[in-house]
Amino acid sequence: MLESVVKNLTIGDELVRLTKPPISKEQLVRYAGASGDFNPLHTDDESARKAGFDGVVAHGMLIMGFLTQAVTTWMPQRFLKKINVRFKAVTRAGDSITVTVTVMEKQIVNNLGRLVCSIEAVDQNMQVKASGTVEVQIPF
């Protein structure tokens, strides 16, 4: 199934569009506990304001989690080979992130479909929070 999908792909095709619900403060507490990053920027409004933000901000790694989640909604995780991401702008509690994955390169060699895709996370105002590239290899 995936084989015929990959064979029919062209450069510029959007593989995934995943919109996450707005990030809640509870989610940031959960992410702090899960990840071990207890920087108060993410859980204490007062600390965040002292650092120059309007309120708590999301861990960059939470956005990274959204990016990889988007990729694995499209194909089994074991086909994900590489991902490189640059964090561009801070994400705040209340922001709703949309991740898109778009085909940039496609090669089919020896029953292996290799795709290099651009990946991007934007908020509800289309501000780019993070972007980069993803490489996947799909065996046929």
Binding site: A34, M64, G65, K82, N84, G132
Partner: protein, 147 residues
């Protein structure tokens, strides 16, 4: 300020891949995929056990304290750190019940002039082997120290 003498310094650590920790992470991200929670579902997808999600390895460098130890020895205050870039190379799945053996290395420290002044970019690379001495993942974390 980032200590250039630290380039090449390594930090070794081990980390058990626990089912509960995986559940916590995917619940925080909001990823409902059952391969992270249900061994039967994971087996149906071709994995021997539940799978650790793609950003799970980074939990290890934080929870073991290795990352913070590196920042301390690099003499970078935590409140001046920005996470600029993150990348992963995946070689083999990381499964519930595995034990990760990690080596974090300070790969490079470079200086760039930005609008706000001098910025130190520190590249930290961590390579993970599992309990079979099999290389499973490499991650690179680019940290900016705002001066």
């Amino acid at each position: 300020m980032a200590d250039r003498g630290m380039i090449g310094k390594t930090f070794e650590f081990t980390w058990p891949v626990e089912r509960g920790k995986i559940s916590e992470l995917v619940a925080a991200i909001g990823d409902p995929d059952p391969i992270y929670r249900d061994p039967a579902e994971a087996r149906q997808e071709g994995y021997p056990n539940i799978v650790a999600p793609p950003t799970f390895s980074t939990v290890a460098v934080l929870w073991t304290g290795v990352l913070f130890k590196a920042f301390e020895e690099l003499k970078i205050p935590l409140n001046r750190i920005l996470h600029a870039e993150q990348s992963y190379e995946y070689y083999d799945p990381i499964l519930g019940g595995d034990t990760l053996q990690g080596v974090l290395e300070v790969k490079s420290i470079t200086e760039r002039q930005g609008k706000a002044g001098t910025m130190h970019y520190v590249m930290l690379e961590t390579v993970y082997n599992n309990q079979y001495d099999h290389k499973v993942l490499k991650e690179n974390m680019l940290i900016v120290e705002r001066m």
